[in-house]
Symmetry: C2
């Protein structure tokens, strides 16, 4: 506890940003953490807990009472409330339901609404806290209302005033930088009509795929986006800090999928769920490897008569796997970033095949010479060279076309593509090498 | 050109957001594009060109005159000017230098300043356009100045008023949502002192690593960050839209490094640079594969006496490679996201080893039974099972410890780790399997 005392002596927690408190907490041992968490100001506790890694969040919420948790949740904005309750439910269902019961009815309703959205839907990431006005309100009055909302901590981090009609349909979005130079004595709509700027709101629908929303943020350089329902009624907003998390999560998901990992199972920091999901992937890979072995088995007579083939054969398969993974990774990533579209398919496949083929020829020459010298047998060099060219050609072709095909079939190109690709490069690698050896050398 | 005409009939380009224009341009053929680009309003041309994929940017700038390009650049904000000139220089150095000469001296200076930063430094991503004031200015006057700046298009997308002292050192940052509810008749500092809020600015230093800046944005949920020099003098700002690009780029970089790709070479859409970088990686992989073959060669007598070993041996190496890649990917990604720190090393290695070991035992049993039945030889099953356990244990251990070690040595853990790992899993896989077979079966 000495460390902790030092921190308290040198820091005034109540004046700190939650992120700064988190930084200190992360350096503490588990025991210190559960004691230190009691010292965090109550109105920051929710933000602090949410910013901790999952493992520490679990420790923290277990050490807090229902009352303390309830207070922490009440201080959060709606999207964070929903996220907090979701995580809490995963740690301790009973505690979560007690905390939920203790919340204000409005908060409960909002949490339920957000939890009803699928994780992939824009709605699940929005917050309900908004700064809105009608177009015939005097700007001065709108700003007075805003001052009150700010004082009551009802809205934070506001960048836009959303103008809705009487049915709550979104009509305009006014950046605060525009609002600031409006004539405060006039109505909103008088100001809008007097300005050269366009106040047409950029918006997304609550059920829209969050991946599309990310692209809207990126393309339009937004820091906030209005979320409406299918009828155009303003529901909430998504802000730039959500984007950072979502962009990171999507990239992690993709990287993990390519390596045969499940991002949600890995997040947990528990061994069993992660291990199970990894085993599923390894099982697929085992089938692939056995298929490759069956191909090798076809040539057992050839192998028996020339042990050099057994020694060299993994080289062709390995180079094919690596070259294929290169093509695959580029295509999967560029598809995700929207840098290549379906219309580009032929161009992309052609490019990948050419690169693979050039490298195939290059490494065919190198390994051909090495094999010929190593085993003092010129034709062995020809065999391994030819099979290298064939396998790298196939690696480039399948590395590019498998993800493009999966995408066309509306399947996540990161998930299944690696196992399909390595099946191809293993089977083609062994078959071409041993087949050519049988034909040419025996 | 029929398509193009259709677009023009149905869209009013001058009223559109650059992102919407880009969406249309992307659907056009190359010929149509170079004609359509002439129809883009001059003040949007720079933004539109920058938002196009590199390949199309090249087509566009080649079809434009120096005058047109110069006009396009002048309309951009400083960070975009710097980015545009950099890209233009890559396409056509002479044209770039003519355009540069045609720019206003201030613009030239700013571009040079930004180009002087390394890409990894925060400074290279900032823009100089700021909304600043001194603390003893009356708020009303500050807003009047802001209205003028906005009218002249000098500042866009403003979210903060930065308060500096006479030496231009940053003292406070006032969000526009706070500014809006200030008493306009008083000075800035009077308002700040009357408020409960903290106006202490969150800032980064221009030479700071951009990866640290990303973490600041993520942790503090920022949409804009002030950039100061080492003496605290305000230089510029970085905004959330830069973050989206940077987060995406870093994820791409990492994914590409893991697969043996160079992100910059791949961006170019040219075959030669990408192919060369890929060949370097494949050359490393070839050395690894040859090392594995040398290991196999140690056991040529064993292989000659039992062809089943040649048929089965790729299975052990392949499973090890896959299990190792799983551990490696998790550790590399979580290091990048800041979810694990150096202090966690033992916990992470332990976790990865346990998962790999459990899966090793599981797949040892499965492949053991398959091998024993396939070749009707019980002890062959024991041999492959044991070597599976050994190799998956090593895969978990090296998959976790290699990136942790590289990180500790201050080397990017994504770059070298895959090749080190597969060397281990190939060599251990073949050595343990063939070694055990020699010892047990012969």
């Amino acid at each position: 506890m000495k460390n902790l005392q030092d921190y308290l002596d040198s820091h005034e927690l109540s004046e700190m940003h939650p992120a700064s408190i988190v930084k200190i907490l992360k350096t503490l041992s588990d025991d210190e953490l559960t004691q230190a968490i009691k010292l965090v100001p109550k109105d920051l506790l929710g933000d602090v807990a949410l910013a901790l890694p999952d493992r520490l969040f679990d420790d923290v919420v277990e050490s807090l009472s229902v009352d303390e948790l309830s207070h922490a949740v009440r201080e959060l904005e709606s999207d964070d409330q929903a996220a907090f309750m979701l995580e809490l439910g995963e740690v301790d269902v009973d505690k979560a339901s007690e905390v939920f019961e203790s919340l204000h009815e409005d908060d409960q309703e909002e949490i339920i609404k957000l939890h009803n959205y699928d994780e992939d839907e824009a709605g699940s990431h929005m917050q309900f806290e908004l700064f809105t006005a009608f177009k015939d309100e005097i700007v001065q009055d709108v700003i007075k209302r805003f001052a009150r909302l700010r004082k009551e901590n009802e809205v934070e981090n506001v960048q836009n005033l959303f103008i809705t009609n009487k049915d709550n349909k979104l009509e305009y979005a006014v950046g605060l930088d525009d609002l600031l130079i409006f004539d405060f004595s006039k109505t909103v709509i008088e100001n809008i009509e007097a300005s050269d700027e366009s106040f047409e709101p950029i918006k997304a629908i609550d059920t829209q795929d969050i991946k599309e929303v990310v692209h809207i943020f990126e393309e339009f350089d937004l820091s906030v986006l209005a979320i409406v329902n299918a009828y155009g009624v303003l529901l909430g907003r998504i802000t730039s800090d959500d984007m950072y998390d979502i962009i990171n999560e999507h990239a992690t998901e993709q990287m993990y999928h390519l390596a045969g990992l499940d991002d949600e199972a890995e997040e947990d920091d528990e061994i069993l769920p992660a291990g199970k999901k990894r085993a599923t992937w390894l099982a697929f890979n085992l089938i692939t490897a056995i298929a490759a072995s069956l191909v090798i088995g076809l040539f057992s007579t050839t192998l028996e008569s020339m042990v050099a083939l057994a020694i060299l054969m993994p080289i062709v398969a390995s180079m094919g796997g690596n070259a294929g993974t290169q093509s695959l990774t580029v295509v999967v990533r560029q598809l995700a970033l929207g840098d290549i579209s379906q219309g580009d398919a032929m161009r992309i496949i052609k490019k990948e095949v050419i690169i693979s083929l050039i490298n195939g020829i290059l490494f065919a020459i190198i390994i051909g010479i090495i094999a010929a010298v190593w085993f003092d047998k010129g034709m062995l060099g020809v065999v391994i060279g030819l099979s290298m060219i064939i396998n790298l050609f196939m690696a480039g072709f399948f590395g590019a076309s498998v993800p493009l095909f999966l995408k066309k079939m509306d399947i996540d190109p990161a998930i299944g593509s690696t196992v399909i690709l390595t099946t191809v490069t293993d089977v083609v690698g062994f078959f071409s090498f041993l087949g050519l050896a049988t034909y040419i050398l025996l």
